[in-house]
């Protein structure tokens, strides 16, 4: 199939244009072995490739280097090039445009320029000499507005023509321009023929004065974050309940079809029980990706990064660490992938290292269980706050505070010598986000979560079930293979005053945290432990576990890196096995030490 490459700067409206051209017909793919994500789509039998946004073809960081190397490699197949310029910021996008054009000329690839956001120019009645600019550039220019769908028909026709008659679109650049610096050429052309005046800046400045001013900006920031968390924990709930209900019903129904006892136990406990406890988190990930998408496309996230830069840099991080941390509250996997936007390799590594301390949604059921079991339900501070709610809030705070301290220490020790680069952001203009690409993105990341983590969690559940069921069948847990293994590791958990059952639950939850509740539930012999956290909590309290041991268990869970899928993604993103091993052992040691200290502190005071 003929290939067309879409190239442009970040925030040039490239993703929306890609959506307009390909409709629902698209896939996200990674280049093998690297972290550059490329979207593929189809338009009337032509393959459209949406390349990630680039500022220039001169790489500053390793990630950009990889992206640019891949871009150059893609040019070898002589694809047709569509280079997107931004009419509202012509000079800057022209710098990249000229570089891409030069490369296309060298590699003998046909090229057209697309000037997006022409609606802004027309609405403001600004002069823009497209004819002369086209002549000087030596490539066809198509003015469009991806937002209001103007010029898209012409663009589609041109793409088809370019694929069939590439020689008509080969680059004929002005000989005067040869050898001249792209920055200078872009300036000359824009000054002579480009739109006059800062179209957007003046209007948008007022918004920045609100969002970035000291006091007001801070208030808005906290309001937006509060809204985000509210949304994750309230909007997602109906969908989560629905998924849980459907899976439970389905389990009962399918179980009813089978008469064999063992097979029935397996289907109900392992397949539907395990799958259910994990699919329940998908709506949260969907909501989070969607809202972060809105914040990103509206231009606010870049402002949030600026607000966070100063406090974060105190701990060795940078303003860009904020977005991955935020995603980390839903799931570490998309969060680790979101660190690709951090230019400084050092800060990127530090962010990846500390993301697992964010309270991901897999920790939620574990916390819910342990807090219910160990914290009495009373109203405190004059009846305004619920004690359990406060402990929950405290656990969230504990996560971010630990992350900042760990980062501050490691930036001066382990990662001291890593390459660093300063914080530099080009502020995207504020825009009203378009919902279609956002919904699509939310679906993609939910699907990624299901495929990446799903298989792992499913496997664990099956293995645990088999080990706990055999050799003597149901209700014989104490003599099962699982008990035999658990007792072998009892020495390790004894100093934390935890018996073998908790030991097993902790060990298996190194594969995925949320397995903890299910595993413990299976072991306490309760059907559907996930759905009935209160019943399981009563069992834990009745088993005579001390408050100290409970607290130490909570501390252990808030620090230990118990998630194989996250480790696998980190290995892929950092390309270093040593990093993953170090990170795992580091948190294991820290979790063990702090739980032990927590246990003895509680035992001393109570």
């Amino acid at each position: 199939m003929d290939q067309v490459l879409l190239i442009g700067k970040p925030n040039s409206g490239k993703s929306l244009l890609f959506n307009r051209l390909t409709g629902l017909n698209q896939k996200v793919a990674n280049f093998p072995g690297v972290t550059v994500e490329v979207k593929n789509g189809e338009m009337d039998g032509v393959k459209i490739i949406d390349f990630p946004g680039l500022y220039t073809l001169d790489a500053l960081t390793r990630d950009e280097e990889v992206a640019i190397e891949n871009l150059k490699k893609s040019f070898e197949g002589n694809p047709s090039i569509v280079c997107i310029l931004d009419a509202t910021r012509l000079e800057r996008s022209l710098v990249l445009g000229l570089q891409v054009q030069e490369l296309a000329a060298q590699m003998n690839c046909p090229l057209v320029f697309v000037i997006n956001m022409m609606d802004v120019i027309l609405n403001n009645k600004i002069n823009f000499d497209l004819k002369e600019l086209e002549k000087k550039l030596g490539s066809k220019i198509i003015p469009i507005s991806a937002k209001s769908k103007v010029g898209l028909v012409e663009l589609k026709d041109t793409i088809k023509k370019m694929v069939n008659f590439p020689q008509e679109f080969s680059v004929v650049s002005d000989p005067e321009r040869l050898g001249q610096d792209h920055v200078k050429t872009a300036r000359d052309y824009t000054q002579k023929w480009g739109p006059k005046g800062d179209v957007i800046l003046k209007k948008q400045g007022i918004l920045d004065k609100i969002f970035l001013s000291g006091f007001l900006g801070g208030v808005v920031f906290f309001l937006i974050m509060a809204f985000l968390f509210q949304a994750i924990f309230t909007w997602a709930v109906p969908a989560m309940d629905l998924i849980e209900e459907v899976i439970a019903q389905l389990g009962t129904y399918v179980g009813g079809l089978v008469s064999h006892t063992m097979l029935k136990d397996f289907i109900q406990d392992a397949i539907f029980g395990g799958l259910g406890s994990f699919l329940v988190f998908v709506p949260q990930i969907f909501v989070l990706t969607f809202i972060i998408g809105i914040l990103e496309d509206s231009g606010y996230l870049a402002r949030a990064a600026i607000i966070c830069h100063r406090p974060f840099s105190f701990f060795g991080l940078n303003g860009r660490s904020f977005i991955p941390f935020l995603s980390g509250y839903a799931c570490s996997i998309p969060a680790v992938m979101a660190t690709r936007t951090i230019e400084s390799p050092k800060k990127r590594l530090l962010t990846i290292f500390t993301i697992p301390l964010m309270v991901c949604s897999a920790r939620l059921p574990v916390y819910a269980l342990l807090v219910t079991a160990f914290i009495p339900n009373t109203m405190i501070m004059g009846g305004f706050f619920n004690s359990r709610g406060m402990v929950f809030f405290g656990l969230y705070l504990f996560g971010i505070v630990t992350a900042l301290i760990v980062s501050a220490v490691l930036s001066q020790t382990t990662f001291k010598k890593e390459a660093d680069s300063p914080f530099l952001i080009e502020l995207p203009p504020y825009r009203v986000p378009h919902w279609k690409p956002l919904i699509q993105k939310a679906f993609t990341s939910s699907a990624q979560f299901v495929t990446k983590a799903g298989l792992m969690i499913f496997t664990v559940t099956v293995v645990i079930w088999v080990l706990g069921y055999f050799p003597h069948g149901a209700d014989q847990l104490d003599s099962s293979w699982l008990a035999w293994i658990g007792k072998k590791f009892e020495w390790f958990f004894q100093p934390l005053e935890l018996d073998w059952k908790y030991g097993v639950a902790i060990i298996v939850s190194f594969l995925a945290r949320e397995v903890f509740v299910g595993t413990l539930g299976t072991m306490f012999g309760i059907e559907g432990a996930d759905e009935n956290i209160a019943g399981l909590a009563d069992n834990i309290t009745a088993s005579g576990m001390s408050l100290g041991a409970g607290i130490s268990l909570i501390i252990f869970y808030s620090i230990a890196l118990q998630c194989v899928s996250t480790l696998a993604v980190i290995k892929k993103e950092t390309g270093s096995f040593r990093f993953v091993i170090y990170q795992f052992l580091f948190y294991m040691g820290l979790a063990y030490l702090l739980s032990w200290m927590g246990l003895h502190l509680v035992n001393y005071f109570f």
């Binding site: 800057r92 948008q204 920045d208």
Partner: protein
């Protein structure tokens, strides 16, 4: 490290960009020698080049990154970078 943390000295009516006050306009006159060449190239691609104009649009509290408007775009620069850019204020 791409940027030197020492404060470079500028002469002859020139000063560092970081010293530019809010709403003040200036002409860019150069870069300190400590600035890494790759990083300087990036700044130029983003619109900060000699003889270009720049103005300080907004400063954030606690010496956080400031906003500078450059040739139709808005850039956010930290003191780390702005100290290495030499400007001449326009009256």
């Amino acid at each position: 490290m791409l940027v030197c943390h020492m404060k470079p000295k500028f002469e002859g009516g020139n000063m560092s960009l970081w010293k530019l006050k809010k709403n003040q306009k200036a002409q860019i006159t150069g870069f300190s020698k400590e600035l890494d060449i790759k990083f300087k190239k990036r700044l130029m691609d983003m619109g900060i080049y000699e003889n270009g104009h720049i103005s300080c649009f907004l400063s954030t509290p606690f010496s956080g990154p400031r906003l500078y408007s450059v040739e139709g775009t808005m850039l956010s620069l930290t003191s780390e970078i702005a100290r290495n850019i030499q400007v001449k204020p326009l009256s």
